[in-house]
């Protein structure tokens, strides 16, 4: 590869270590010399190899795709979800975003609904619970239907696509001072609710997903921290859409006297 090669920088890592949800945790400090060409997770990989070689427990963190689409890798880096670079998941963050002698504080995403599994890995299954409550559409089984059978207006397709970009990483919850999951939930509701295929369950979906969300997370006060932290820059507009659809859903789904 042509172009400039990375230099090596020395960084001080303060990493959160915690053996389980109930165990007390604390920071552990490591010095690391690392190429600025390395990704953030590669730096942790290298550190873990050293820890392994020294017979110590490696730092637990999650990752899978390492290309910003699976949503598993999020951690707090210097108090910012997914680190300092905008619209970038942790796995796509590179050490060139940091300078020599930087101190880097690495913590797990925090919320009561995200208990720590170990070190930097948290249990984000409440997001799955929200999806399970209504993040699906019903289609007839049988032979696959023709492509383009259902016309989708361009505007709806564009917006649904924007919402569908959500990778379920939970950075919105982690960055939110209220630990609210509005951005995630509204992206999922908006994604399906804007498309013709999602209309049949639109109102039951909105009601069920919002109410499941509220079993685990806090109440949105429209700070807007979520959008800033989101690696896919999901818009706050989806939260407004969800709030509107939720009210409509409650009215449409109301049980009249004696119908409950």
């Amino acid at each position: 590869m042509s172009g400039s090669h990375g230099e090596t920088i020395n960084v001080t890592l303060k990493v959160w270590r915690q053996t389980s949800a109930d165990a007390p945790g604390g920071f552990e400090t490591h010095q690391q010399a690392i190429s600025t060409d390395a990704s953030f997770l590669e730096m942790l990989d290298l550190l873990n190899e050293e820890l392994n070689a020294a017979g110590k427990e490696p730092i637990a963190f999650e990752s899978d795709c390492r290309e910003g689409i699976c949503g598993t890798c999020g951690v707090m880096i210097n108090g910012r979800a997914h680190g300092p670079q905008k619209a970038t998941a942790t796995c796509q963050l590179h050490m060139r975003e940091f300078a020599d002698d930087d101190e880097i504080v690495i913590e797990p995403f925090r919320a009561t609904g995200f208990p720590v599994i170990r070190d930097l890995a948290v249990d984000r299954s409440p997001l799955d619970a929200i999806i399970e409550a209504g993040g699906y559409i019903s289609v007839n089984t049988g032979a696959a239907s023709d492509a383009n059978l259902t016309p989708v207006p361009k505007a709806a397709a564009d917006q649904a696509f924007d919402a569908a970009a959500c990778i379920g990483c939970g950075a919105c919850v982690a960055a939110c001072p209220n630990s609210a999951a509005q951005l995630f939930t509204s992206a999922k509701i908006g994604h399906l609710g804007l498309l013709p295929q999602g209309q049949a369950e639109r109102w039951s979906r909105t009601e069920a997903m919002v109410e499941t969300m509220e079993e685990f997370f806090g109440s949105c006060t429209n700070h807007g921290e979520c959008t800033e932290a989101c690696p896919k820059e999901i818009s706050l507009d989806f939260i407004a859409l969800m709030n509107r659809d939720y009210m409509k859903a409650k009215v449409k789904n109301r049980g009249l006297a004696g119908q409950h």
């Binding site: 303060k14 707090m76 609904g113 919002v210 109440s219 006060t221």
Partner: protein, 281 residues
């Protein structure tokens, strides 16, 4: 039977759902529904604060006009209803809006707090050791839980001051608001208190009037840029109007040097009423 989330997932629900009340009461059982209530009562409260501020501008027309304005509030509804009936209805509405706004604010703050309990709470706010900086949240949005209670306490003080006359004692003259305002606000500590409280109110409205659009799902890409402007305008108008009273009293503009009517209930107020009528005739 479908498995409930509690059984299926390792993470236990943080908040338990209670039995659903009948529609429309069930709207108040969820946080999103409660935000609707907070936003709607917020609109009502902003309407009140705006009207209150504009009405009080009568103070710049002197004691007689101020007296007349205060009286006119009691005769809303004209001869159709008993005197003060509509005023009491408005007061009742205002009180219920306050109660709902406060209750939803407090309960939702609690919910958010419980949702952040395992997240390194420092004095009630979620903190990261990495020095979490707020990127998008404004000073106003972060202080809603301080400006709200400041407003609430101030309103109690304000009622005791100019409605019930607790602090003015013998100096308080029912039906002569000009006199009461100029007497109360001419004390520097009181003027400062009014200024502080109204700055808090302006911050509260600056975020609240923007936030309520989101809470009510009022969102249209074509008009979204106007929402921040409207909130700023509302907060600014209310701030300028309300601050003018303590500041101009301190500056000596609202005083009783040119007063023609005697200070004191019965004949004083009759004199004010006659003077106001004289202006009209």
């Amino acid at each position: 039977m479908a498995q409930t989330t509690g059984e299926r997932y390792r993470v236990a629900p943080v908040h338990r759902r209670s039995r659903e009340w009948p529609f429309p009461l069930n709207l108040y059982q969820t946080a999103v529904g409660r935000k609707w209530v907070m936003a709607l009562t917020g609109i009502g409260l902003i309407g009140f604060v705006l009207a209150h501020m504009v009405g009080n501008l009568h103070v710049y027309e002197g004691p007689a006009r101020m007296h007349e304005y205060a009286e006119s509030l009691r005769t809303i509804g004209g001869g159709l209803v008993p005197k003060s009936a509509v005023l009491w209805l408005l007061r009742l509405g205002l009180l219920s809006m306050f109660v709902l706004h406060l209750h939803s604010a407090i309960s939702l703050s609690r919910m958010s707090r419980a949702s952040s309990e395992d997240a390194g709470l420092v004095s009630g706010a979620k903190r990261y050791a990495g020095g979490r900086e707020h990127v998008a949240a404004t000073y106003a949005s972060r202080t809603m839980r301080w400006t709200g209670p400041i407003i609430a306490l101030f309103i109690l003080y304000h009622l005791a001051d100019l409605t019930w006359g607790w602090w003015l004692g013998d100096d308080f003259v029912a039906g002569d608001p000009y006199h009461n305002v100029s007497t109360s606000l001419s004390a520097l500590p009181v003027a400062i208190l009014y200024i502080v409280a109204n700055v808090a109110l302006a911050f509260h409205i600056f975020h609240g009037a923007w936030s309520m659009f989101q809470s009510l799902g009022i969102n249209n890409p074509r008009y979204n840029h106007l929402r921040r402007g409207l909130a700023t305008l509302l907060a600014g108008l209310i701030l300028v109007g309300n601050l003018s009273f303590p500041i101009l009293t301190q500056a000596g503009l609202i005083d009783e040097d040119n007063r023609t009517c005697p200070i004191g209930e019965v004949e004083g107020n009759t004199c004010l009423a006659e003077e106001a009528e004289g202006h009209q005739g």
